[in-house]
């Protein structure tokens, strides 16, 4: 429980004003879990909430984690993992970032993801787009392209990320796939561009992951990722909460730019 208190200065800016999805493990991480988007109705009065409309037209109250007290309260609900959408609750159709969710298929690993991430970074740089990478806290990597523009739409980020993913697949057919089907992912990295949707959520940067090892979804500098990839050191992608706390003191918020950098997607 102490982890979130100590990481709060770093994680709170990334949770702020976003509809929180709780992944709850009421009986511990070995037991079953469920996702809860609704803010529990027995919440204390001081919890900030927002009303959002679901696809079926149904209204729903969601929690906003804007301060330390709320973060601690959320933790006490036995909610280890904090998932948030790419848009803020007040502007649910305006993504602040475009994301590429890199997920290794069977017999592929995080080093394959790192290769794809580096190619992706270079391709985006050619298009004058800066990107930022974090571990998923499991086996994958998440590459974020900050937009932070009021005119951004999920339609655009979807179209753009899909085109980029297809071009990567076409050029690296043995490494990259955009096919969701499990059997087509073997030995390849699946680029899930469809996360760029108002109904989807991503694990928040600095969030814990619920599994045996207390890993964290942690931001990496491209230099570190390049270094780990060239040494083929997959262990360096597993960042435990103790290491995360040590590193943020030194490195600061490596995902800061994701919140502020303004970029426009070209050729749309």
């Amino acid at each position: 429980m102490d982890y979130y208190r100590r990481i709060s200065p770093f994680i709170l800016p990334h949770l702020k004003d976003r509809a929180l999805t709780l992944k709850r493990y009421p009986n511990g991480v070995d037991e079953e879990y469920f996702y809860e988007k609704r803010c529990p109705s027995n919440r204390p009065a001081w919890i900030k909430t927002a009303r959002i409309t679901r696809d079926e037209g149904e209204q729903m109250t969601v929690c906003l984690v804007n301060d330390l007290d709320t973060l601690i309260w959320v933790e006490n609900l036995a909610s280890l993992e904090l998932h948030v959408p790419l848009a803020k609750a007040a502007f649910p159709e305006t993504p602040d970032s475009m994301v590429f969710d890199l997920d290794p298929g069977d017999s592929a690993d995080v080093l394959d993801c790192a290769r794809v991430a580096l190619i992706l970074r270079d391709l985006l740089l050619e298009l004058r787009l800066a990107s930022y990478v974090k571990t998923s806290g499991r086996k994958g990597l998440h590459v974020y392209v900050p937009l932070n523009r009021r005119d951004a739409t999920f339609e655009d980020t979807k179209k753009f990320s899909k085109s980029v993913s297809e071009v990567l697949q076409r050029n690296y057919p043995d490494l990259v796939t955009v096919k969701m089907a499990k059997e087509l992912r073997t030995r390849k990295v699946f680029i899930n561009w469809s996360q760029n949707d108002h109904s989807k959520t991503m694990i928040c940067v600095y969030s814990l992951r619920a599994q045996d090892k207390p890993t964290v979804s942690f931001p990496l500098s491209w230099e570190e990722l390049e270094d780990s990839a060239s040494r083929r050191d997959s262990g360096r992608f597993d960042i435990l909460h103790s290491e995360a706390l040590r590193r943020v003191e030194k490195e600061g918020n490596l995902f800061q730019e994701v919140l502020v950098k303004k970029q426009k997607l070209p050729y749309l």
């Binding site: 085109s163 070209p266 050729y267």
Partner: protein, 281 residues
């Protein structure tokens, strides 16, 4: 939807139907009474046995969608324009907001609180609504088995109130074999009366009663549900298996979302940039 494989059906047509869905919990919490608290998960106990079909467009085999259509405008109504009304007389509605509905919905809870133990024989099957199993969670195994065993021997069931989804249900927690099961019960005012059904009392001769008794006695047997099966379902499955062997399935057209390329300009630019990247690597 890829349809070129020769036998796409076997996994769907195999016997262990519903195995994985049964594992998924609908709710978890505790069954409690007095000082006892048993951590449990609620899972479905039955799965409708129907073979379901998709509706397709006969011309191109596209799977069809259901949409809300306004008969006035003959247009699809988007979700944000859909609201709720309660019809008081034909064509007249009271509008009800989500907030108003939420304000009368019960608080969700994590407990199934047993109020009293009753004789299951007293509950007419007309009250039975929907059955579930309760599965013990870690640490609850012993008290779970104990409660199941004691209730089974005494033929008692625990009557409880339980909030699932938006509704509060009256439920009976009982034993089924060595497991605990839960059955939601209809509320009294949901049950239709039998006044119009029972005929006026007619005079019955004692020999008529004893003849009826004899007939029934002659037909008495143990309840063996596995003697009976849905014949139509079996026939449909046999038919589908035969079809899967003999004919190729029709294929739905690719949905544009899935396979359509991005805008040509963008793809061309990306491809050009990709070539540069490859050269520099």
């Amino acid at each position: 939807m890829k349809g070129t494989r020769s036998a796409p059906l076997p996994s769907k047509l195999s016997a262990n139907r519903g195995k994985d869905t049964a594992e998924q919990g609908i709710w978890s919490g505790t069954v409690s009474f007095s000082l006892v608290a048993i951590p449990v998960r609620l899972v479905r106990a039955v799965e409708p046995d129907r073979v379901s079909f998709r509706m397709l467009h006969s011309r191109d085999y596209s799977p069809l969608l259901r949409r809300m259509v306004c008969p006035e405008e003959e247009k699809i109504v988007p979700a944000e324009e859909i609201i709720r009304g309660y019809e008081i007389t034909p064509g007249k509605y009271l509008l009800i907001t989500d907030e108003e509905l939420e304000s009368v919905s019960p608080e969700r809870s994590r407990t199934i609180e047993i109020i009293e133990f009753i004789d299951m024989k007293d509950v007419d099957s007309i009250y039975y609504d929907h059955p579930y199993y309760l599965v013990p969670l870690k640490g609850g195994e012993k008290s779970y088995s104990l409660l199941a065993e004691v209730m089974r021997r005494a033929d008692k069931a625990g009557l409880a109130k339980f909030v699932l989804g938006e509704r509060e249900y009256l439920v009976a927690v009982k034993s089924t074999g060595s497991a605990l099961s839960l059955i939601t019960l209809h509320y009294c005012d949901e049950i239709l009366g039998d006044e119009d059904i029972v005929p006026e009392e007619a005079r019955i001769e004692p020999e008529e009663t004893s003849r009826m008794k004899r007939i029934i006695k002659g037909m008495i047997s143990d309840f063996n549900p596995d003697k009976y099966a849905d014949k139509r379902r079996e026939k449909i499955l046999t038919l589908l298996k035969k079809k899967a062997r003999e004919t190729a399935p029709v294929e739905a057209p690719e949905v544009e979302e899935e396979e359509g390329e991005g805008p040509a300009d963008l793809i061309a630019m990306l491809q050009k940039s990709m070539r540069k990247v490859k050269k520099n690597r």
